[in-house]
Amino acid sequence: MHQKTPEIYSVELSGTKDIVKTDKGDGKEKYRGLKNNCLELKKKNHKEEFQKELHLDDHKLSNRELEEKYGTDIIMGLSSTRAAELLARDGPNSLTPPKQTPEIVKFLKQMVGGFSILLWVGAFLCWIAYGIQYSSDKSASLNNVYLGCVLGLVVILTGIFAYYQEAKSTNIMSSFNKMIPQQALVIRDSEKKTIPSEQLVVGDIVEVKGGDQIPADIRVLSSQGCRVDNSSLTGESEPQPRSSEFTHENPLETKNICFYSTTCLEASTSPVGTVTGMVINTGDRTIIGHIASLASGVGNEKTPIAIEIEHFVHIVAGVAVSIGILFFIIAVSLKYQVLDSIIFLIGIIVANVPEGLLATVTVTLSLTAKRMAKKNCLVKNLEAVETLGSTSIICSDKTGTLTQNRMTVAHLWFDNQIFVADTSEDHSNQVFDQSSRTWASLSKIITLCNRAEFKPGQENVPIMKKAVIGDASETALLKFSEVILGDVMEIRKRNRKVAEIPFNSTNKFQLSIHETDDPHGKRFLMVMKGAPERILEKCSTIMINGEEHPLDKSTAKTFHTAYMELGGLGERVLGFCHLYLPADEFPETYSFDIDAMNFPTSNLCFVGLLSMIDPPRSTVPDAVTKCRSAGIKVIMVTGDHPITAKAIAKSVGIISANSETVEDIAHRLNIAVEQVNKRDAKAAVVTGMELKDMSSEQLDEILANYQEIVFARTSPQQKLIIVEGCQRQDAVVAVTGDGVNDSPALKKADIGIAMGIAGSDAAKNAADMVLLDDNFASIVTGVEEGRLIFDNLKKTIAYTLTKNIAELCPFLIYIIVGLPLPIGTITILFIDLGTDIIPSIALAYEKAESDIMNRKPRHKNKDRLVNQPLAVYSYLHIGLMQALGAFLVYFTVYAQEGFLPRTLINLRVEWEKDYVNDLEDSYGQEWTRYQREYLEWTGYTAFFVGILVQQIADLIIRKTRRNSIFQQGLFRNKVIWVGITSQIIIGLILSYGLGSVTALSFTMLRAQYWFVAVPHAILIWAYDEVRKLFIRLYPGSWWDKNMYY
């Protein structure tokens, strides 16, 4: 039941006039209209704008007119000189690769993005401060210059690091892009020449053999048994015959045009399918080129995580700048010198900016990317790692993604019964009843009436993976019979073929006559297969349980019921019949003549039906269910026919078993479609034809109201409209696809997912992620990883932000209370870029707290990465506790050395005077400036240790957001402990190893000071456990709302 309904194919390829207006004789100029349309598409979202697309009427012209139009000769071909001219005019016959952002631009973006600007400001302030110092005192210390350089270095190094990470993930992809140069057989100067297909020009006469790629858009002049695989262009998995006849107004549907980059299929026997044609479009002006340009015209959307990080950067930068300016004003009004105020400002900026965080985020994302690559999700764009997690709609292509992209026998009908065949990837489990004698006959027909053959040299390859010469359905039949019956070639050898009529579109059947291996009667067996209705016409009997019965009306009716049923499943149905030729009329020596048809082709015996489908991958239904439970809507968008699409949708669960479309309800209640209450239907099947007439509001309504949607017969542009429609619903849209036709939608999607094996280069180029195993189920893994990384990034950021308060408070206290500076800028950098890095990465290894696949995808405008509770809890709760703890260590050290806290108040000015070398402490001891400075460094070290110790507690509490740490398991994530160990080791090295390097301002701290903040660390842990306990006990309460981040 391979019914084509080409009328509903909705790509509009007219609109000559529009384009003629812009045609100024320049070949390139002519297509400006196209680009304009793309632009308007972006601007206005009016799909009417781009329905008129491509002017192509070559399929309507006769050979003579074609010769005239392109100034060529069908026999002689173009002359070399003319070809060279045309090549110079039109450029090479290749697709312009999409514009890449220059590497230097990417690099510079890293240098100024995120917090870098703030740090640059800090660095410049340092240099300005030095300038001021230098102007008043030529011997001013270079400390500020060094600090400025260090800040600049931090930006540059983190920038290089992020760039390197990005580049590494991009490099994986470039290996995909290696194109093998293609050759084309062309007639020029009346000679057949092989030239690189890049050099083809309009008007060239080319010959294409089976197995080759079509080198350009060509108008077929003559063909022999040629079929092309248009699946990458239209999504149809069935091969399309091509001949020189003009069969359809629509150039995409007519038989006499072959498209660039589609494949001319290998035929099973000689003569090999060949096609001769005239090149009518080359390079970017081909249909494929047009679609590719459509894809590049679609802007790259910002990934949700990029938006989240930007939001986070804004928050932190906002806090930094406002506190900075506030305290600058306070400092100035407290009569501090401008120089001092600038130095405060630098400190505040450095303390507020989590310098290491963006690098940590990059590492975290690339760790996840690696983990996903292991599970066959290759991520091209690091940020896309998370996008999949926030995906709320998946628009999936059918062929090759949901299905196996190969025809497979799905059902059989014989003995008035429908049998189900195993369509799983390996066919291992064929359970239908094979004892009937009808099956014996049917299997014989399937085996013999088939021209497909395995390619030689594949003895060790599993049957389902063997390469076959032959078209898709014959391949399916061959493999099916090989699996059930064993060596098909041997059977064919025993039943030698004596005559054959191959399948053609007028006959719609295929016939062959064989000697049989039946030892009892040396009769010839005629076997035939073809379109069921045609086969039935030729039959007068039907085989039931091995007996021939006359074909009466009732049996014909059961046949029709079965035929309709199988057809209704979207399957392609073939009928099979046979006839044993009586030995007396057709003796062994009888010579069959195909042309004279000296044998009967009617009154045959009908044996059975067999239906084939491109079956769903066995993992897909489960994956769809998982997506459902994860709150993700799966929409099928395919170029294939609605019936097939719906059948596959049903079998994979995109349309669930108990939901009905409006049409189904109408059918069930036996009423007109219009009378059905649309609200009753949960599912909808929308064809491209219907979509064409819809306004965007109507589309929105469909997308919003139906849970289960299948779009069939859609064009590339319509895929784009659908994706945009979904995005209008505020959804994060993932699009999967493999064909060139999918590339615009892949690009437009929030995350485009291309198939690694079956995917075309165009699709892979446009995609953000590549599924290496082409398996839809891998997406589920991706979603899970994406959601996990979002949660874990939250934890990482909360962890990192917390200590900012502890780093910031010293500066504020320093300004207001006038304590000797508790922590230095360099020390802060050592925390941010030293001790805290590994622990914050370690949080990326944290396991999920609950089943993240059972909750709804996050709402991109509501569930922020950094929300108010997170900032408030990190800054004002844990952060302040940490600051207090660190101050405790600081005061302890000072007090132990002689400066009691009350002495320290307002001591700053005296403390920092270089000429005061006998400053008295609380006990009357006198300190030289250097002694004080050294004590100040000890204070820095103490404060640093205080933060460090409490950051360990912070790290532990950040493991979970809701569950108790003891529920999560303190030791399950080993990396956390690596992080804690690294933190302590780095701290020890800084204090005891580098304690003598004065530039770093660390000193050797007495061992007991390490334990001063421990009670505070324990308090932090205890407090957070209480917080989590109340959140768990009183969900939705005031506490929950204010304390859960």
Binding site: T892, A895, Q925, T928, Y930, W1038
Partner: protein, 268 residues
């Protein structure tokens, strides 16, 4: 159409609504009750933290940051240790002599309650009451400021006092003395009182302001004598601790550790 294209009025109205929304009674996005709750929460939370913080304050114990005393001079001239004065101009050294009035602490009157300690030995005490030793101001001879209230400034013979920083528990090994030399060869005349700049061991150790009430730091006076023709010349004097095995007078980073350097210029 899009969110970015909100008119100014709209966003203003939104802000107003955010600051106070009459319908929900929300002020800055929270109702009065919500604000009350959150403020109460923070009051308790921070109150608790503050209590905890003050409770855990430690008692002082260590003095490992200052092992060696620094040297410092009196008077303290402004930002750098540079003295400029003119014999004839009283104003030019008024500040210095004013600074040196701190010697009043060392008058006999002030010291009458202090103990006369045995010379030449460390004066270690067990407490709980610590007594302070007298420092006879007469040791400073010409610089004691009894007869000459100008401390020699009016005579081109300015006095500068050098003191060793107090450090609790510091005991000198060997008799320390402050050795002062002029860095300028042609102006040799630097006198030190007491003789040789000796600091008697009885002033060590000191037990800190709180326990060791009335403790007087030993002082050493340096008198630089300018000749008539030395007018306008800058003299650099360096004083160092000498004679003690454990008191360092050399540190790469700390220029005041056990030494001090100052400049004097006598103008006409």
């Amino acid at each position: 159409m899009t969110k970015n294209e909100k008119s100014l009025n709209q966003s203003l109205a939104e802000w107003k609504l955010f600051i106070y929304s009459p319908t929900t009674g929300e002020f800055l996005g929270r109702t009065a009750k919500s604000w009350g709750l959150i403020l109460l929460f923070y009051l308790i939370f921070y109150g608790f933290l503050a209590a905890l913080f003050s409770f855990t304050m430690w008692v002082p114990k260590y003095r490992d940051q200052i092992l060696n005393p620094g040297l410092m001079v009196f008077p303290k001239p402004g930002t750098a240790l540079e003295y400029t004065f003119s014999r004839s101009d009283l104003i030019s050294y008024a500040g210095y002599t004013e600074d040196l009035k701190f010697l009043k602490l060392y008058t006999l009157e002030e010291q009458k309650n202090l103990t006369v300690c045995p010379d030449g030995a460390l004066f270690e005490q067990k407490g709980p009451v610590y007594v302070a030793c007298q420092f006879p101001i007469s040791l400073l001879q010409a610089c004691r400021g009894m007869n000459d209230l100008d401390f020699g400034y009016s005579q081109r013979n300015p006095c500068i006092l050098v003191k060793m920083n107090r450090i609790i528990g510091l005991k000198s090994e060997g008799v320390p003395r402050i050795d002062c030399v002029s860095k300028n060869e042609d102006i040799p005349n630097v006198a030190v009182y007491p003789h040789n700049g000796i600091i008697d061991l009885k002033y060590f150790p000191c037990y800190g302001e709180k326990l060791h009430v009335g403790y007087l730091q030993p002082l050493v006076a340096v008198q630089v004598s300018f000749a008539h023709n030395d007018t306008g010349k800058e003299v650099t004097v360096e004083c160092k601790i000498d004679g003690s095995a454990n008191l360092k007078s050399q540190d790469d980073c700390d220029k005041f550790l056990g030494r001090v350097m100052f400049k004097i210029t006598a103008c006409a």
